[in-house]
Symmetry: C2
Subunit: 395 residues, 2 copies
C-alpha cells in the first residue's frame, strides 16, 4: 500500500520536476518525508527524474526498510549528508545538472553545505512545487482527511455538554482539547512556515477574538506573550458573548479544519445577521469549489458578499483583517491553494480546502463557520454533517 | 522591566557580536524575538553593535510599541524586508560590513533575499552565538524557570492519583496532559531544529521505551507514524512494566524539563539497580554543575559510572542510544550547552541544564530520572522537591 501511494505521489513530484527542468530532488523535511513514505525518519530522500529513489537515513539507526516497502538497495544509513554524493559517485549515478532542495524550509546553513557538495549542480528551490504536488490529493489521502473530519465532528458534537456555568475561555479551551485527545486527536498542530506556531487550536470568547496576532491565521486572540494566539482569559465568560471554537483536526497525520460558533444566551441581532452572511459566503464558495475556478475569483466574490451586506468591517477580523477566506489543508494546516487576492491558480479536483468566513464584532466576539471541502465537479464536498448555526450554550 | 531585561540580553548578544567582529545582527525567529522583547511579532529586529535597536514589524498591524517598552522611533511597520535597508539608508545609518542572520533557522529563500538586499555586506551565521548568549540566564529568566519547575512539580505530584486500573499508555498520557494544562502548562513544546517535533511530551510504558525514534530526544517511543515519539499503545499497561513520564514544562514561555519513573507493581531487581545507577549519575552530574567544568568531562564521567556498574547496554536507550546525559533548557527544550562527547565548553554560573540519566531494559521499560538544575558555585541547584524514586502505582 505504501509503495502504491508512493508511486502516485512520486508521479506528481516528477511532473513538477519535468515542468521545471530539474533532474533530481532531495527531500529532508518531516512533512515531505511523511508524504513519500507514510513514515518519518531523519535523513534525505534522493529522487532522480527517472529510476529508483534512494533513502539516506540518519535516524532511527534501526529503521526497517521493509516496513517502508523499500528494497534493501534503496536504504543506506549515513552520518552526514556528504555521503549522498559519495554514494552517487560510487554507484555510477549521474550528478544532477539542476537539483531541487526545499528552499523555503531548509535552513541556510544546510543549504550552504549542499551547495559545496553539489558544486557542479544548480541548486533550485523545490518548496512551492512540492506544495503544489501535495495540493491535489490521492483517493487514499482524501479518505484519511474524511476520517479526520468524522472524528473531529464526533468531538465537536459534544461541545455543548462540555460547557459549565462560569467557565473561563481558558477552561473551556482545555476541556475541549481534552475531548479532542480522548477522541483520537494526535495533538500536533503542523503548520508551514517558521513564523507559524500554535498549540491545538483556538477558543475565542468575546473581544479576545478581536485581538490581533502576529500569525497568519484567520483570527487572533491574545494567547500568551510567548505564543500570542487563541484563548487567554481566566475570568468567567459572560452572557452575550460569542465563542468561536477552531481546533486543528489531526486525527491521523492528515488534518481537517473545523470551526463552530457558540453563544452564551442571545446575542445582539447584528451577530446573527453577520453569521448569516458568513453562511451565504460559505454557500457561494462551496458552489465554486469546482475544477477550473480561479482562487482569487472566489475570494473576490466572497468579499463582495461581505461588502454588499455591509459586513466588510467585520470580515475576517476587525482590527487586523486576514486576506483570505479559505486555505488548503492536508499534512499541514496551511497547504495550497489559498483563496486570496492575486492567486491566479485554477482549482483542481481532489484539492482540499478549509473555508472559513468569519466576522468579528467588537463587544460581541467572532461569528461564522469553518468547514473542510473536497473540490469536485459538483462543487465542494462537505466533510462533516454538523449544524452550521450558532448554538446557545445556555439553552 | 522589559527594557531592563532587554539591555541585559542585548549586552550578551553584543559581546558575541564583538567577539565575532560583526557590526549588526538581524533577528526574525519567534524564539529570539521573544528573548529580546518578551513578546512576539512577525518581523525583524535590527541590532547595531552600538546605538538603538530598530524593530521592523509586519504583524500584528496594530502592535503597541509602548507595551514593548520601545520608543516610537524604534518601531516601524513594514510590508517586506527590503524596507529595512531603505530605512538604514534614509536615516543615514551605516550599512554593516559584517551582518549576522539566523543561518541555522532562516530558510535559504529568505537568506537569499537578504543577500541581494545587503549586497555590500558579508552575511554570517548568528544562530550558534545567539544560542550561546541565551545559555546564561539573567536572574529574571532563572525565576521564570524556577516558577515553571514549581508548577510542573505540583502536577507531577498528582500523577499517582491519576492512574486507573487497565489504563493504556495512551490514556495515561492524555490524563497527565490534561492535568498539565489545568495546572497552567501552555502546551506548546518548543524545540530547536526543523527535524524536532513533539506534542506535550512522552509517556513510555514497557517496551515502547525501547522503540527508536527519528528525533534527537533522550528516548523514543513509537508515537504515531506521522510523529514517531512517545505514547503509542492502546492496550492496557501490565504489571511488571515501568512507566517513564517526561512532559515539557512550558508554564510561562520558559521551560523546565522533568521526568519521573513509575511502576505497575514490583519490577525485576535489575530495574531498581539500573535506577540507582541513574541516581548515582545524577548525583555525580549535580556535583559537577559548577562554573569552569567542561561539558564533555561530565558526559564521560556519567558514561564511566554506567560502564563500571555494567549498565552501559541500557544507558540512554538500548536499541538506539542517545549520546548525551543532559541539555540546556530555556526558551526551547534543547538549548545549549549539551553534556555530550566533544563538547569542550566550560559551564558558566546561570546556565540551566536538564539532567536525564535514563536506562532502558527490554521486557521492563525505562527507569531513571530527569531534573532541571541551575549551574552555581556550589554545584547544581535542583529546582523541584519531588522524590526521585520509582513510585509503584499499584501500592
Amino acid at each position: 500500500m505504501i509503495q502504491i501511494e508512493r508511486q502516485l505521489r512520486l508521479q506528481k513530484i516528477r511532473e513538477q520536476m519535468q515542468k521545471n527542468q530539474v533532474d533530481a530532488c532531495i527531500i529532508s523535511t518531516p512533512v515531505n518525508t511523511y508524504y513519500l513514505h507514510q513514515s518519518i525518519f531523519q535523513g534525505y530522500t534522493y529522487i532522480p527524474l527517472e529510476g529508483e529513489l534512494q533513502c539516506f537515513v540518519r535516524r532511527p539507526s534501526d529503521l526497517d526498510f521493509k516496513t517502508l516497502e523499500l528494497s534493501e538497495s534503496q536504504c543506506r544509513f549515513i552520518r552526514k549528508p556528504e555521503q549522498i554524493i559519495e554514494t552517487l559517485q560510487e554507484t555510477g549515478l549521474s550528478i544532477p545538472e539542476n537539483l531541487w532542495l526545499e528552499g523555503e524550509e531548509m535552513p541556510q546553513s544546510q543549504w550552504a553545505r549542499f551547495e559545496k557538495m553539489f558544486a557542479q549542480s544548480h541548486l533550485k528551490n523545490a518548496s512551492h512545487a512540492l506544495r503544489q504536488a501535495r495540493s491535489v490529493k490521492t483517493d487514499f489521502e482524501l479518505d484519511q482527511i474524511r476520517r479526520s473530519a468524522k472524528m473531529h465532528e464526533a468531538v465537536y458534537s459534544k461541545i455543548p455538554s462540555i460547557y459549565r456555568p462560569n467557565m473561563s475561555e481558558q477552561e473551556f479551551c482545555i476541556e475541549i482539547e481534552y475531548q479532542m485527545r480522548k477522541g483520537g486527536c494526535l495533538g500536533l498542530f503542523r503548520c508551514y512556515g517558521i513564523d507559524m506556531e500554535a498549540f491545538m487550536g483556538s477558543v475565542l470568547a468575546g473581544d479576545n477574538a478581536a485581538v490581533s496576532s502576529p500569525y497568519d491565521f484567520a483570527l487572533g486572540g491574545a494567547g500568551h506573550p510567548s505564543n500570542p494566539i487563541g484563548a487567554s482569559w481566566h475570568e468567567a465568560m459572560r452572557e452575550g458573548q460569542s465563542i468561536l471554537v477552531d481546533m486543528c483536526g489531526n486525527f491521523c497525520g492528515y488534518l481537517d479544519d473545523l470551526s463552530r460558533c457558540f453563544s452564551l444566551g442571545k446575542l445582539p441581532d447584528i451577530a446573527y445577521r453577520a453569521h448569516q452572511v458568513a453562511l451565504d459566503i460559505q454557500a457561494f464558495v462551496q458552489e465554486n469549489l469546482r475544477p477550473g475556478v480561479i482562487c482569487e475569483d472566489i475570494y473576490n466574490g466572497a468579499l463582495k458578499i461581505a461588502q454588499e451586506s455591509g459586513m466588510a468591517p467585520y470580515f475576517m477580523g476587525c482590527r487586523q483583517q486576514a486576506k483570505f477566506v479559505g486555505h488548503g489543508v492536508g499534512l499541514v494546516i496551511n497547504e495550497l491553494p489559498v483563496l486570496a487576492p492575486r492567486m491566479k491558480e485554477p482549482l483542481q479536483a481532489g484539492m482540499v480546502l478549509a473555508v472559513e468566513p468569519k466576522m468579528v464584532i467588537e463587544g460581541i466576539g467572532a461569528v461564522g463557520v469553518e468547514n473542510t471541502f473536497i473540490v469536485t465537479e459538483n462543487g465542494g464536498e462537505k466533510l462533516v454533517n454538523l449544524s452550521d448555526e450558532i448554538i446557545d450554550l445556555l439553552a
